[in-house]
């Protein structure tokens, strides 16, 4: 991805490395996710009405989908900031967020498909939630296509920012509204528990929330890494 050269009036690209605190947070994040994994496999109970151990995939599938949603929202927020301030760093941040959002959405789709094969005996079923995440993938893949199609960095920034701001409406609709509008869905209802009751079993809820938090933090950590790489690219481009 080419961040484009800076204009003569643009501020220099800040490529100062982050403090030691960020590095320590990386290790803390690893520990958190490792504990969530151990909890998912060894502590959380299995859900009833799920075949064998398949309910454990929800502790990864749902957090991945959630992280992708957070990424797409973040891209929209950074895009708003870019349109207001015209700071190229916000444009880079938005682009990096969309890239990672797509990655997490693909992972969520793959894990969901694996679970669908176990539960519904087919990799794909045309379920409304499956369909809506594919639409989201196509929507944000088009963002990257748009980005690659425009040479001028300022025009590219404005167009992509406007597109990602539109995503602030599209993403919530596809993730939370469209799947619920269908009259029938194969997907489990939003709460999963061992006795098919409305309330969620506390251990399952604990691991699900811990895993969701971990994946969200993972997104922000990898996003920061990607953003730093984009800044280095931008700095090199200003010197050529």
């Amino acid at each position: 991805m080419n961040p484009g050269p800076a204009s003569a009036l643009a501020p220099a690209v800040d490529t100062r490395p982050p403090s030691a605190i960020w590095r320590a947070l990386g290790w803390l994040l690893w520990l958190w996710i490792a504990l969530a994994i151990v909890g998912a496999f060894l502590w959380a109970p299995l859900a009833q009405a799920f075949i064998g151990q398949s309910s454990r995939i929800l502790f990864f599938h749902v957090p991945m989908a959630w992280a992708s949603f957070v990424a797409f929202l973040a891209a929209g927020v950074w895009s708003v900031l870019y349109l207001v301030r015209r700071d190229a760093d916000h444009d880079r941040a938005a682009a990096a967020a969309v890239e990672l959002g797509l990655l997490f959405a693909i992972l969520a789709t793959v894990t969901g498909s694996m679970w669908a094969k176990v539960m519904w005996h087919a990799w794909w079923n045309g379920d409304p939630r499956q369909t809506s995440i594919v639409v989201a993938l196509v929507f944000y893949a088009a963002y990257l296509v748009l980005r690659g199609a425009v040479e001028d960095p300022e025009l590219r920034g404005r167009l992509c920012a406007a597109y990602a701001v539109l995503g602030l409406v599209v993403a919530p609709y596809l993730y939370f509204v469209a799947p619920r509008m269908a009259s029938f869905t194969l997907h489990p209802q939003p709460v999963v528990n061992t006795a098919a009751k409305v309330d969620v079993e506390i251990r399952m809820l604990t691991v699900l929330l811990a895993s969701s938090l971990g994946f969200t933090a993972l997104f922000f950590w990898v996003h920061r890494l990607r953003l730093r790489l984009l800044r280095i690219d931008a700095r090199k481009n200003t010197r050529t």
Binding site: R16, W30, I33, I37, F41, Q53, V222, L225
Partner: protein, 38 residues
């Protein structure tokens, strides 16, 4: 049926995730070196 039990699956996951994190930490070190370049 999961051969070796669920503990084995958990251990494989922890190994994979540890590998991923070590890779990311190593990548971060390389990025830090690039940032320090004049």
């Amino acid at each position: 049926m999961i051969q070796g039990g669920i503990g084995w699956v958990a251990a494989v996951n922890v190994v994979i995730w540890t590998g991923l994190f070590l890779y990311l930490l190593r990548l971060e070190a390389k990025v830090r070196d690039l940032e320090k370049e004049p």
